[in-house]
Symmetry: C2
Subunit: 445 residues, 2 copies
């Protein structure tokens, strides 16, 4: 075997022998979880539990997370939002001002330091960012302002469950918007909705957009992005008409199910069709906040008319649950063989699997596609083991350098995770190239 072409260099194609992917080896008790997605994430080496409701991300899990982050960045930038990074620590004092500090037995995780400073681990950042904006934005001319971050948030969940779906520590994208008038704020709200739709479209899984209760946040316009899933904790009312479009979270729905019993209710929008109840996982949320935070925190700016009253900042806040998305997609796509990632956020889009003795050929083959997110399974394992592992991990595409190559060098078998039962498709290297060219590129540099 040619040692040189087996040796890895910095910019070479990634190979599984170099990436820590501890698949298998999880006992039944360790993976016991009511959610199959979580069991598979454990078994396939994406996550490990550190403590109750607290999770570590292993390399494959982190790759998925980073893919989601880059996708979020792209769509946040499309509406002119700038990224920053707020501290995970906030203070009780600030939350008292907005009336949101619920005392010591609430969902806050409190931080105890030597001075008893009254620090909290922030579950969200409306208070901190309003204070930050207040100290910097002085005039309506500095608006609109759209600021977002992707950071760890904390909530003392009474009952952490289903791995990343309900954890005490979680990664969130939170966008905060500031405008000088209600009209401008509503335009911003609609721009954010557009960016969210584009993000979820590109993610590539079906989703619902439900009218939502804006309760805790204090505004009066709110939408939820939901994945329909039996394991979901939310209930969404959806009109069974294909054209009506009525979709609302049960808590915000106009349909009064108790009144009609638990059978189908009539749609409160079209009055023609019935409403279906669907279990769903919330993965995104948009809120119009108005002056809910700018008023108690006195975030005001000078308006265009110098004689008039100063303007209270009109705000919005908009979240996407990054770590929850990992759990939700796993739960949504899990089948009998394992996980199945959409192209947009797969840990790798293509795995090249060589038969023993064809490792060099597999590496040379993969090197032909430097723009494609490929990994080579060069581990010293039998072919059937590698197939099972690839199915468990859920790469969208497998390329086998095996029997076909032995018959005719350059010929490979292409196997799609979505249609494995159909078996592989034998093709020449050139044809593979034209197939790979259709994959939207989501390489992490």
């Amino acid at each position: 075997m040619d040692a040189d072409s087996l040796k890895s260099s910095k910019n070479d194609v990634p190979r599984l022998s170099n990436i820590w992917t501890p698949t298998g080896g999880i006992t039944a008790s360790q993976q016991a979880d009511e959610d199959r997605g979580t069991s598979l994430l454990l078994q396939a080496g994406f996550i490990r539990q550190a403590h109750s409701g607290i999770w570590h991300l292993l390399p494959l899990g982190l790759r998925v997370q980073e893919k989601i982050e880059r996708l979020v960045d792209k769509h946040m930038q499309s509406i002119g939002a700038t990224k920053l990074s707020l501290s995970s620590i906030t203070s009780e004092e600030l939350w008292r001002k907005t009336g949101r500090f619920g005392g010591q037995k609430s969902e806050f995780l409190r931080v105890m330091d030597r001075r008893e400073s009254g620090f909290l681990l922030a579950p969200t950042h409306e208070e901190e960012i309003t204070v930050l904006a207040k100290g910097t934005v002085k005039s309506y001319k500095d608006l609109p302002l759209r600021l977002y971050q992707i950071s760890r948030k904390y909530r003392d969940e009474l009952r952490p469950r289903a791995g990343l779906l309900r954890a005490k520590e979680f990664l969130m994208k939170d966008l905060y918007t500031f405008d000088a008038s209600q009209d401008a704020a509503l335009q911003t709200y609609s721009a954010v909705r557009g960016a969210y739709n584009a993000f979820f479209d590109e993610l590539g899984l079906p989703y619902l957009v439900a009218e939502a209760d804006s309760g805790a946040m204090g505004g009066n316009l709110s939408h939820e992005y939901q994945f329909q899933a039996p394991s979901g904790e939310d209930t969404v009312h959806v009109c069974s008409s294909t054209s009506c479009g009525y979709t609302a979270n049960e808590e915000a729905s106009l349909v009064d199910f108790p009144y009609v019993g638990d059978g189908p209710g009539t749609c409160p929008k079209c009055y023609l069709q019935t409403i279906e109840k669907k279990r769903a996982i919330e993965v995104g949320h948009t809120f119009y906040l108005g002056t809910r935070y700018s008023e108690p925190l006195e975030a005001i700016v000078s308006g265009p008319d110098s004689a008039a009253e100063p303007v209270k900042l009109q705000m919005g806040c908009h979240g996407i649950g990054i770590s929850r998305l990992i759990g939700a997609v796993a739960s949504l796509t899990a089948d009998a063989r394992g996980l199945h990632w959409p192209q947009s956020i797969a840990p790798f889009q293509v795995v090249v699997i060589p038969k023993k003795g064809l490792e060099r050929e597999a590496l040379d083959f993969a090197r032909k596609y430097p723009g494609i997110d490929i990994v080579v399974d060069d581990r010293d394992k039998p072919l059937p083991w590698k197939f099972k592992d690839a199915e468990l991990i859920g790469y969208p595409m497998q390329i086998v350098v095996g029997k076909s190559w032995e018959k005719k060098p350059g010929a490979v078998e292409l196997r799609m995770r979505a249609t494995l039962e159909k078996g592989g498709e034998v093709m020449e290297t050139e044809e593979v190239g034209s197939r790979l060219a259709y994959i939207p590129n989501h390489v992490i540099p």
Copy 2:
């Protein structure tokens, strides 16, 4: 003015009118800090203080941080380290096992939840990663293993100072290495030293590598990466010979200064030259740990000889202070005009500054260099204000589309932050291209 070429599109060149860079506007009391680097980071809109020892990163600060992260990723990958992401929360119980839980009045920030689970905010992750490795690595064949992460760490500093240089919350890169024998672990240690040298070389600022005391970590081989700076908290002993190379932290030095008074001591290595004391900021640290953690946490694997004793994991841990680097570089490079970033981690490598009325020309000019990390200052401000702002922020290179362009379209003035006193250099667009080609590319996608 042509509205189309002024309009921004998704992949267009970044412009300061779209990025939140609140420069100035900081009062003397807000920026009061003993460290000039920190004052400038505040004034130039890189950071804001949230609470004592707790900082927010604004967009420019986050860009610098992300540049450092990408540079670290590159050099970690060069030694086959895989990236993962451990929880920020750890448990008292685990730290008791290694004897590192110092009680409630120690430097730990403790997390209080409803169940009083004994959670801590982790200042470092030897305990957690040893437990993770223990649950996964079963045989010497799974070694060597090199795992790293970049994450927020916490320490209850009694006296937070100098902004990011000593904060309660800070971003660290921590690499953990696992080997089957002491020999292999020492080889790993030396590979890590090589990667650290390459990282600091590419960063582009002079640094010292000092022999260090391995005290708290419990191993017996340790080096510190230090920036020489009057504001530093460490004292390093350096031999004044150009060839000897003796460099050691005061705490680990063989030079007994008290014995010779505070005057120069003789170098304990070459015995020819005297030792100088230098104040320095520690920005990186490598530790050989041996079995300091694998022994109390019982992280053992099967060895090559099945009859022999199982092998205790031989470990190393290696940190780079990412957020501290931001503060240290600011402190090191600050001059009377402002900050001055090295090319490798500048928030942008080039700022293009148009005179009023030449905004379109400046954008078109910048669009000619899609591979270069350029930002256009298209804000509605007078030219002298923009110059001052660019000097304060510290872009390595300024390109002025102004008087020269008016005389001859295509001609610009090139001003280097390092040699501003020499004034600008007038050149044609083509010549600029060949100058920009020499800049190592550090664009954030």
